[in-house]
Amino acid sequence: MSDKTTIIVHSGDMDKIYSALIIANGALAMGMEASLFFTFWGLLRLKKGGLEKGPLSRKNMLGFGKFVMEEKMKKVGVVSLEKLLQDCKELGGKILACDMTMEIMGIKKEDMREDLISEYCAVGTYINEARESSITLFI
């Protein structure tokens, strides 16, 4: 078992994207490898301009809850999702994009943040990453 964390990012909710990226960056900072497989609603966050668009998973209240949460996060000094993703890349994290989701939702590569994406792939790549991971999560 290698020292690797693999996370399926299925949710596009803002708070869950935070969880996924914080865990990945923590793993990378502590010397593990990390791969994030973005699929379904999670994949939409990798569209150009999509990163910060996710609602809160609970108490979103048509965006008001998210607004309040963002204000609280700013006060505590939580960094942006953009910084977390840039850090993830800098520390060697792999960002994988599910190509079936792209087909279903009619998303083209040029609609995506190609600067962040390491690879467009399918379940086989995920399994290959996960089978050698000591931590696997579905978020």
Binding site: N25, L28, A29, L84
Partner: protein
């Protein structure tokens, strides 16, 4: 040998851990990385990362809620 300073004062999870790792990646052998911060959990967790990375922790200090950790690359 160079001293690399990382200021994470006022930063919260996971920034102190991430910035420490970035500095350690940039550091050359024998360089010292000195991280200063205020996030309480990071004071415990940066040493965990140092151990996991097989590096040497030189010193941990804390005064008035500000901690300083020195790591040998």
């Amino acid at each position: 040998m160079t001293l690399i300073r990382v200021d994470c004062t006022g930063e919260t999870c996971p920034v102190p851990l991430v910035e420490t790792r970035k500095a350690l990646m940039k550091a050359k052998e024998n360089d010292i990385v000195e991280v200063v911060g205020t996030h309480p959990a990071s004071k415990k967790e940066i040493p965990m990362a140092v151990e996991a990375l097989g590096l040497e922790l030189l010193e941990i200090q804390e005064k008035d809620g500000v901690w300083k950790i020195r790591i040998q690359r």
